[in-house]
């Protein structure tokens, strides 16, 4: 693939992504939304992030991502639920997954 093709493809992806990002702020600077819609937008972001947590934890490609990652995120989740500090949650999740892989867990 030529360098020019790659530059164009990258720019199109960049501009398109920026379009997604800027649409909300752009539209909302020109109109006022009802409190109900505002609240729905905030919940939508939480729904998206939660769905992202679920898929990033369990799915790789179109299949199962493996037990090492799942257990690591679960350990982090329990710690977060018990209100452990953020740093502890994240380091524990990564360390658990890394340790399990070291032990041969896929």
């Amino acid at each position: 693939m030529s360098g020019l093709t790659l530059v164009i493809a990258t720019m199109v992806l960049g501009v398109g992504t920026y379009g997604f990002r800027v649409a909300g702020p752009l539209l909302k600077s020109r109109m006022t939304l009802s409190a109900e819609v505002e609240r729905l937008m905030a919940v939508a972001a939480v729904v998206l992030l939660t769905a992202l947590v679920a898929t990033a934890t369990l799915v790789q490609g179109h299949g199962f991502a493996g037990f090492a990652r799942l257990v690591g995120v679960a350990v982090g989740g329990v710690l977060a639920w018990r209100r452990a500090p953020f740093v502890v949650v994240v380091v524990a999740a990564a360390a658990t997954t890394a340790a399990l892989r070291l032990l041969g867990v896929p």
Binding site: L13, P25, A44, V47, V59
Partner: protein, 231 residues
């Protein structure tokens, strides 16, 4: 810019600064691997760097490079990347108010709108703190991600397998920790759980990025309750 920094210093505090720094470190290492993998796959040195500045969205960048490196069609690579990044559209509506204060702010703020900066913003109480968290996380991640990619592209195969460090578990753990406080509200929790189940159930069949968007049907589970004004 000066007013943004002043807001940050006053609002952030030590704990939040440390949390954001940790996420920056983790994403910086993932950036290293992105740079190394791209160049290792035979793509030009400048591609991962240009892409990280212009696109600045990790999952779509990995997907794009994976498709192009495998000899795939560039149109397909762009389409796949755009699909993964479509969730920024609803994110934009959720965080738009944090970017108010002049055209320059929302033009720049939109570019640093990513999963982590949105999640950090949503996890804070009060608009002032949310705004500070969004900007601090977004700009710091932009710097760390691009620095990581730069080093990875030049450093070659130093770090290509971030799975060995469990960093693939760190990303969902970060988002989970940040989203948990919002899930204490029953209506939100219901919507989020339905969304997660739908996203998982459709993952085997749909292109990457789509399952998460389809998960938005979870909002239907929250709606009657929201209309009553309960929060």
């Amino acid at each position: 810019m000066r007013s943004i920094w002043r807001t940050l210093q006053v609002r952030l505090g030590r704990e939040l600064t440390r949390d954001i720094a940790l996420v920056c470190l983790a994403d910086g290492v993932v950036g290293l691997s992105f740079g190394a993998i791209s160049v290792g796959a035979g793509l030009p040195l400048w591609l991962p760097m240009l892409m990280s500045v212009v696109v600045f969205a990790g999952a779509s960048q990995f997907l794009f490079v994976g498709i192009v490196a495998a000899g795939g069609n560039p149109v397909a690579a762009v389409a796949a990347g755009l699909l993964v990044n479509a969730r920024h559209l609803p994110f934009g509506f959720a965080v738009a108010d944090l970017l108010s204060g002049g055209r320059g702010r929302w033009l720049a703020g939109s570019h640093v709108m990513i999963d982590e900066s949105v999640a950090f913003a949503l996890a804070q109480r009060g608009t002032g703190r949310s705004r500070a968290a969004f900007w601090a996380c977004g700009t710091a991640l932009f710097v760390c991600w691009n620095l990581g990619v730069l080093l990875g592209a030049f450093g070659g195969a130093a770090i290509t397998d971030t799975n060995a460090f469990g960093l693939d578990a760190a990303f969902p753990a970060v988002l989970l920790a940040l989203v948990l406080p919002s899930l204490r509200d029953p209506a939100t929790r219901r919507a989020a759980l339905v969304g997660a189940v739908v996203a998982l159930a459709t993952s085997p069949f749909l292109a990457p990025g789509l399952p998460v968007l389809v998960g938005l049907v979870g909002l239907l589970a929250a709606r009657p309750h929201l209309r009553k004004g309960a929060a």
